[in-house]
């Protein structure tokens, strides 16, 4: 069953097409990523799915139901967390969680809240007001609330912003464990590529309201057709090497006496062939670094308007 099914979803603000005819579907138990530069329309998409925002047109189905007519069924089984909106600021963490515990009619509320606080290491802070917390702590509070009702479907809109690497790692572990144990479905956005790569099975790459491509991180990276090779050169022969490479039809980006950077297609054997020729010609290297394409490269390329 598709837990999320979106067809031709659109949302405009005046002239601006924030989300422009996007379609995708997410299977039960899938960790699905929405990736794209600022303003791509990721949050707008999520907000339409959670019911915060009314769509202009298109079709949405969640957990096999129409979220408008089966509002209660759907909303009780989903939740959302983001780092950008903390819970009510003048309430303490525990007070906030109590309110949402009742809202979702959670059995054994206090016990459940204790569990969540422990899991996110917020025990000692539970009687502090949200407004006094650091951004990383607020993020964890939002995640606590997000998992409070044991959702089958969880929307995470940049929910790991501001976490230190240790807590971020723990959080990813908690999320993965949760997904595995409950077979829960996630729709996830983040600016941290490594996180998206680690967590998400498939990724929809968005830009300017459109989905450019939906695929695994591995396949998406193939969209970046070039990789970068950086060399440290002995005996100050940088200029010579540059001449040689240009003659071979290689694109040299940077060259000086002791260092040189060039680009080669990321697929095929071009890089090995070139390196072989360089060695055969007798150039001696002091350093070698091959930068394979990352999601970051794709991200930057799309954000700067390249293909």
């Amino acid at each position: 069953m598709d837990v999320i099914e979106v067809k031709n979803l659109c949302k405009s603000y005046g002239q601006l097409k924030a989300v422009d005819h996007i379609s995708f579907s997410v299977k039960k138990g899938e960790f699905f990523g929405l990736l794209g530069p600022n303003g791509a329309g990721k949050s707008t998409t999520i907000n339409m799915l959670t019911g915060l925002l009314e769509k202009d047109s298109g079709h949405i189905s969640l957990l096999g139901k129409d979220p408008v007519t089966d509002w209660e069924y759907v909303k009780n089984r989903m939740n959302v967390a983001t780092a950008y909106y903390p819970l009510t600021e003048v309430l303490t963490i525990r007070q906030n969680l109590r309110v949402y515990g009742r809202m979702y009619d959670i059995p054994k509320r206090e016990q459940k809240i204790d569990e969540m606080l422990k899991q996110f290491e917020l025990n000692d802070l539970q009687h502090h007001r949200v407004i006094t917390l650091s951004s990383g702590e607020r993020t964890r509070v939002a995640l606590c609330k997000g998992l409070l009702n044991d959702p089958e479907l969880l929307f995470l809109d940049e929910c790991t912003v501001g976490l230190d690497p240790d807590i971020a790692e723990k959080t990813r572990r908690i999320l993965k464990e949760y997904q595995r144990e409950r077979h829960a479905t996630f729709l996830f956005t983040s600016h941290y590529m490594h996180e998206v790569e680690e967590l998400c099975g498939r990724i929809a790459f968005m830009n300017k309201g459109k989905i450019l491509k939906i695929d695994t991180a591995h396949n998406l990276k193939k969209l970046i057709t070039k990789m970068t090779v950086s060399l440290g050169i002995k005996e100050g022969k940088g200029a010579l090497l540059k001449e040689f490479l240009v003659a071979e039809g290689v694109e040299v980006i940077f060259a000086e006496n002791n260092a040189l950077i060039f680009e080669v297609p990321s697929r095929g054997e071009k890089v090995y062939k070139i390196m072989n020729k360089i060695f055969k010609k007798g150039f001696k290297l002091s350093d070698l670094h091959i930068q394979r394409p990352t999601l970051d490269d794709l991200f930057i390329a799309v954000a700067r308007g390249k293909k």
Partner: protein
């Protein structure tokens, strides 16, 4: 409409209140100041003119608190979610807008009741004034009708908040005071200019305070005016519900709930 969600929202209002000195001041501090000022003013008036205005003024102040609190509390507790950046989580939860409004209206009613009781108590201690020199039925009817109108103005302000955001928040505190001069809280309808009287007749509040003064002068209770007040209130309340619903829908279209602004 689900009771457990209304309870959750009532709990949130309760926490907002006990966590915030502002919300506690609303209930006791300002009403108390009002009582002092008007009580002492009426002593002075009595000294210089032999007219006893104490009862009329105190009755007016205590009853007015139900309009004041109901109206302002609804707007302020709606604004709390804007200030606290809580709209995002609130409206992505299963809560319905009607449950949100019902909880706030209920909570504001109990706050008004607490304020009113507190004032009645102080008035009887300081000035030996008893609200229950009127029949309990009249007091109950007045409280209900005045609260109903307070909720109505609260709904209109709420509608404006969801339409225009926090920048119009000053209306939360000011709206009810535009209505007060025309509600004949402290003086009879006849003391208003003619155009003012027309406005006053359109307000359900006027009838309550007119009746109160009539009873103080020993006239019998005129229940028909309560009926008029009720009908006018219900018309305004109905319109208020429609407008606030429409405004909430427009907030969902414009993305107000995600931005909270």
């Amino acid at each position: 409409m689900k009771w457990h969600r209304v309870k959750a929202l009532l709990l949130k209002c309760y926490y907002l209140t006990i966590n915030s000195p502002d919300r506690l001041c609303d209930m006791f501090y300002w009403p108390l100041i009002d009582l002092f000022v008007w009580g002492f003013a009426s002593f002075y008036i009595k000294d210089i003119s032999d007219v006893n205005v104490l009862s009329a003024l105190l009755g007016g102040i205590i009853l007015w608190v139900f309009v004041w609190r109901s109206s302002q509390d609804i707007a302020v507790y709606v604004l709390e979610d804007f200030w606290g950046k809580n709209l995002y989580h609130l409206f992505s939860s299963p809560v319905r807008f009607s449950e949100h409004l019902l909880s706030i209206i209920t909570f504001s009613f109990f706050r008004a009741l607490a304020s009113g009781t507190f004032m009645a108590l102080i008035a009887s201690l300081l000035y030996s004034f008893s609200l229950f020199s009127f029949s309990p039925l009249v007091v109950g009817l007045s409280i209900f009708l005045l609260s109903l109108f307070g909720w109505t103005t609260g709904l209109f302000v709420t509608a404006l908040i969801f339409r225009f955001g926090q920048r119009i928040q000053v209306l939360a505190w000011s709206t009810v005071w535009i209505i007060q001069p025309f509600s004949c809280v402290f003086y009879p309808l006849s003391s208003l200019p003619v155009w003012g009287q027309w406005i006053a007749r359109l307000l359900p509040t006027t009838y309550i305070f007119e009746n109160m003064r009539a009873m103080m002068l020993g006239h019998p209770v005129d229940y028909s005016t309560y009926a008029i007040s009720f009908i006018i209130s219900m018309i305004f309340f109905g319109i208020g519900l429609v407008v606030v619903h429409w405004s909430f829908q427009s907030a969902r279209k414009m993305g107000m709930l995600e931005k909270g602004d």
